[in-house]
Symmetry: C2
Subunit: 331 residues, 2 copies
């Protein structure tokens, strides 16, 4: 796997003779990188949480950036999270739990810190969205990409929307990309819900019918724990800096909680990016899940034809098709 860096040259050696004149076969990452600027959609600063952890042992800064889910998903908890940020509630709290192949969790380890007034008690029914209200599209990202069963490139286009049945999924009758997010739905799409993929951020809770206030959050740092879908609220995803959580030492108490308070990593602050000064604001964009580029990217994730691969799978788990996100200005 080391020599995969030699892709460009090696491609000449392994592409079958009859394809020599064709365009080089691009990897999914290369397809995203080659997407025209119009296919990238800026993420509003008001939808970004900026979590600054205490510096690491060598004094390096540790910044984690979270993109919040768009309406109509999980808005009750997200409203609470905005209030908690406004009250600077997380400042001085910590990452208290890191369980291998599962989650890193943060909040008030003492469980005694008073919550700010005005938080909603969000009911379980808000784990799913009923009816046909779509996620609020950013800019031109208005359609839903369903994943085809047969491995064919979906027929897509800016004006078009997509044909094709939903792809094979073990947890939901249908899965699809909607305004940049992986979403599950019931047969007939009467209800829809966000998915626990890698980097998803969710709301810790007590036993049902409690759904959590949003003060206790976790990020998925292992194989997608999709059994949590519809059982815990997903409120966003980490789009930068997840390694500051995923590479933390695992806790040795039950469920990966840290045994000693000294093991916890302090959270210096969590802010909404739009509350930072302009130069401090992180700026990210995602590849429109309505774009032709994304359709090609999905197809390439389902059928790896770049030179390293021998057998294309003909399908992919939706959580193994991460939506490309990059800093604005990156290439």
């Amino acid at each position: 796997m080391r020599k995969i860096v030699l892709t460009a040259m090696a491609a000449l050696l392994v592409v079958p003779a009859q394809a020599q004149d064709a365009a080089p076969v691009l990897s999914p990452g290369e397809i995203a990188a080659a997407a025209p600027a119009d296919d990238w959609i800026a993420i509003a600063a008001s939808d970004l949480l900026v979590m600054d952890l205490a510096p690491d042992a060598r004094g390096s800064a540790r910044r984690v950036v979270i993109q919040l889910m768009p309406a109509p998903f999980s808005q009750g908890w997200i409203g609470n999270i905005r209030k908690l940020v406004g009250a600077h509630w997380w400042d001085g709290t910590s990452v208290n739990r890191v369980q291998d192949n599962y989650v890193a969790q943060w909040g008030d380890a003492t469980e005694k810190k008073a919550l700010p007034p005005g938080l909603a008690a969000v009911p379980e029914r808000e784990y799913v969205v009923s009816g046909s209200a779509r996620a609020q599209p950013a800019a031109s990202d208005k359609a839903v990409i369903r994943l085809p069963k047969d491995g064919a490139v979906p027929a897509t286009g800016k004006g078009g929307g997509l044909a094709g049945a939903s792809m094979s999924d073990a947890y939901a009758p249908n899965v699809a990309f909607e305004s940049g997010w992986p979403i599950g739905s019931s047969a007939g799409r009467a209800s829809r819900w966000p998915l626990h993929c890698y980097a998803a951020v969710g709301v810790g809770r007590n036993m049902s019918p409690d759904t959590g206030s949003g003060a206790e959050l976790y990020a998925v740092i292992g194989h997608a724990p999709r059994h949590l879908d519809r059982n815990i609220a997903v409120v966003g995803r980490i789009i930068s800096g997840i390694e500051h959580l995923s590479s933390l030492p695992r806790g040795t108490k039950a469920l990966g909680f840290y045994k000693d308070a000294a093991e916890r990593v302090t959270i210096r602050s969590i802010r909404i990016a739009s509350d930072l000064s302009m130069p401090e604001q992180p700026k990210f964009e995602y590849l429109s899940t309505e774009s032709d580029s994304f359709a090609r990217y999905v197809d390439a994730r389902r059928n790896r034809r770049d030179p390293f691969f021998i057998v294309p799978a003909g399908g992919a788990d939706i959580c193994n098709i991460p939506v490309p996100v990059r800093p604005v200005g990156a290439k």
Copy 2:
């Protein structure tokens, strides 16, 4: 999620009234822990690799234990790995690459260390096994568990084998557990292959038709990269100590390679457990994938009914059904 530790008490509160007299609803982990001793199968010391990394910054030992795949899978590379271990080839090499949500990789960073004589050049056709030869069962673990589509508990039994169609999978026509391992197969099961689930250990390689000698190995430390199935050899899985790899700092060069040699973690030694003195040998056992206990465990992974959960999924990704493994004598 913090209060999930209160499961036993809370169960009384949330089990519906008509079920009050029934046995308590167990979590998958509780089902495995309650399995009779006969359902656990000892792993032969000759099938365990013991990798000792240099101690961490605080002087704590870091031991990683890998279970090698049983025949007929990947035996060409595993034969090479046994020769490399016999030559103490990895002693003094290092972990050179840690890519977030993907792999940790180890071997000779210089790429100049001579390989021992007698290693086989294993052909690509050995990525799959043709015909009906089953994985060599350990002890009584003789059957194959296929995952049913409908969420019903598979009808199973020591003497029986299992009914039920294979479960929904995005990458393989069929997936099933075979002698303790998750295995994919073609329609009609004419060919079968091991899966890249979390903790799987694979063989790094150069461009096709090279398949790698086995000297360069990696472990999956993120969401299952199932697109690698049939494209790279899977030779085993980490059954203990994966946190010593998954929590390492991510490399900052392309593909997660470390930029500075000082970032690499030295491998003190890799040995076959049976070559260690008896008191030094780690002893592990796995839950027979033929057992009734495993069938109940699978069902519970597919339909979480323990008190924390509200909506059972009715299915599960095979890589989200890890085969229970524990130290011998643990409960």
